[in-house]
Amino acid sequence: MNTFDFLLQGLAVAMDPMILIYALIGVTLGTAVGVLPGIGPALTVALLLPVTYGLDPAGSLIMFAGIYYGGMYGGSTTSILLNTPGESASIVTALEGNKMARMGRGGPALATAAIGSFIAGLAATILLAFVAPTVVKLALVFGPRDYFALMVLAFVTVSSAFGESARKGLISLFVGLALALVGIDQLTGQARLSFGVPQLLDGIEVTTLAVAMFAVGEALFVAARRDTADDEVIAVKGSVWMTANDWARSWKPWLRGTIIGFPIGAMPAGGADIATFLSYAAEKRMSKHPEEFGHGAIEGVAGPEAANNASAAGTLVPLLTLGLPTTATAAIMLAGFQQFGLQPGPLLFATNPQLVWGLIASLLIANFMLLVLNLPLIGLWVRLLTIPRPWLYAGILVFATLGTIGANPSPVELSMLLIFGVMGYAMRLYGYPIAPVVVGLILGPMAEQQLRRALSISQGDLWTLVGSPVSATLLALSAIALIVPLILRARGKGKVLSQLASDED
């Protein structure tokens, strides 16, 4: 049997009515929990693992798949409507999506997220089915120096993509980098900047920072200036659905997001959040309407949401082919496999093809269920915005607090939520962008660890950093992205300059 036959067989298994019901339950639960800020798909799957003990392998795997994809999608709903990202991969979605929602375009934003997730999930799952063994070989070529070069590229492109002013964006980024230093140094096991507080030893939780800065900061900001009615939220303006123009502006970002997301998800040290950052930066550079970025550009929702889902499918490449769980959720899915006495790894495709293809077919079905479940609900979701604002923001604060306590029950975590919330308020007040802080917290430790690993392996030889073709290429790209605008600016080429200036700032 070839790949295609196995996939068809898997789909036949997954079309069983009971299996479809499991998929629906998984997607519904996943979406519901994904909406809670702070509780991500990993915790949901962990809590529900015992429930699936009684199910057969096919049933429990499809439920996992549903919860995973549902959780990823649920995070984008709250990001767009309430500016409250539930997990790090939906932070970027909040940037443009929430601006759209405030202008009455929450419907199209949710729709482009849902359809983009579907298309990216579909394309990436098919890629997973056909090219997984090849992709994994490429992913293994990536060593510490290559990851470091990738992080440098991410810093250079991403830091310039946020906010109105490069100076303020960089200050925000460095605040994030400073926060990223807190906690145990991974390479030596020594504590840094933890001031004897044990909860700080593992560093600052990304979701706590994101929820605090976005949700709590926003609520404080709104409460502090409730008398000024200048940015009135309009629940629905025009159609709830995407217009022809929305479609025209969305389809390319969906595809680009997929192309960026899938390979980064497949890298053992990649991650959905990095994929969304790079996709956002790419869309801003390629958009015909760069001036709309920061004010509700639909490309800024479509691309990152597609990248996010494609990366989720990419995560399964190392899990299924190497037995390598690269995210918390993948680690729990691995536990799910082991529950049936299976060890994912190079032999899994050979020894248990039915189960592997059943899982891949399940992902396709779960993806489709997600679209069926969510598109009709968009009209209902946007009604959330018609709730009077004091009630709405009180509700957001309750959910943000519950989510944080649910994920990590400790007074220290709650204090951090409050402190960072106040910080988020102050930054809004003085016009500093929020996203670069979170970007710094995520990218900082990765860049630092990979750099130090690379130098440790080479025993201190700096030339190692450009010693592989991948790292040399990525660093050259970063240098071009950094230097070309400077040269053009120095030569004073008017038209190109203003174009690039608006790109950059």
Partner: protein, 314 residues
């Protein structure tokens, strides 16, 4: 039928010691890891065997388990229904993090499972056996890079012990810490490092597929199904088990401790537990009472010494 059932219930009620509790188990790690899985498997077995009616698992992640341990010591004082899962990694983390609480502050009940370490190289490597690796290490310790789990964890400690046993200065080992066996495995498969060290289970599938070569294992005796010598056979006096245990609250009475030990003993003997160990591939290294306490004291002393040698603890 009803009468037999009723009779059985009474018999069961009489058999259960007076302190049988609805346990709460703290898993001092994020969902998905080994300690979390141990806690959830205990939950499953204790409930399925009727040893405890309802068992709750609470995740308190952070810092090699020391955050959960600190919270447990502060909150569970004298409460016989509170349990915590832990393991060898915690012994090292307590020392490297200069944790204010230690395993002396809880009541250890039993060692439940354990895994042995495996030393591997990629299949394409020039190094054919453990002696080849040791020669390379003796020639230039810095040139041999080892990928493994977190700094100061079982993998790092094992490398330190190997170096010391081979007569190489442990402070000169070039250990590259990754945030878990998975990421380290990718670096080994991609030939980014010279060798890798982690729990045997992390490498078994890749070794069976021919992508990795297992050079040695850290057990006392050879492991069935693994074609590799023990470190002792190779002339290195190193044996190390990455074990997981369960402990009870500080300040409980001797009767309460005995009751909990009896419950855990029933759980370990149960079919549910044994089946779960088999499907998960965990070795049953059950050890309770004074024997466990003696082993624990030995491990704590040895770990403290080697962490000082590596230079992670002053």
């Amino acid at each position: 039928m009803k009468h037999t059932l009723f009779g059985a219930l009474i018999a069961a009620a009489l058999a259960v010691p007076a302190y049988a509790e609805n346990y709460t188990i703290i898993a001092p790690a994020a969902p998905g890891g080994g300690w979390d899985q141990t806690a959830r498997t205990m939950q499953e077995a204790l409930q399925a065997e009727g040893i405890s009616d309802t068992v709750q698992v609470q995740n308190v992640p952070g810092a090699g388990g020391t955050v959960g341990l600190a919270q447990f010591v502060a909150g569970a004082q004298g409460k016989p229904d509170q349990l915590i899962v832990g393991g060898y990694v915690m012994v090292g983390a307590i020392l490297t993090n200069a944790s204010p609480v230690s395993l002396a502050d809880v009541t250890p009940i039993a060692r439940l499972t354990g895994e042995y370490e495996a030393i591997v190289v990629p299949a394409a490597s020039d190094i054919q056996d453990i002696n080849g690796l040791i020669e390379a290490l003796k020639a230039d310790p810095g040139a041999v890079s080892w990928a493994g789990g977190s700094a100061g964890g079982a993998d790092h400690i094992a490398v330190g012990l190997i170096a010391k046993a081979a007569g190489v200065d442990p402070t000169r080992i070039n250990y590259i810490a990754y945030s878990g066996g998975g990421e380290a495995l990718a670096a080994i498969l991609g030939s980014q490092v010279t060798a890798g060290i982690s729990s045997l289970g992390e490498f078994k599938a890749q070794a069976d597929a021919g992508a990795l070569r297992i050079l040695a294992v850290s057990s006392d005796e050879r492991i069935e199904g693994v074609d590799a010598p023990t470190l002792k056979e190779a002339g290195l006096d190193v044996a190390l088990q990455n074990w997981r245990m369960v402990a009870a609250a500080p300040g409980i009475t001797d009767e309460q401790k005995a009751a909990i030990s009896a419950d855990i003993d029933r759980m370990v003997q149960s079919k549910t537990w044994q089946d779960a160990l088999a499907t998960k591939g965990w070795a049953n290294t059950y050890l309770a009472g004074a024997d466990f306490q003696a082993q624990l004291d030995k491990d704590i002393a040895a770990t403290g010494a080697i962490l000082k040698d590596i230079g992670l603890v002053k």
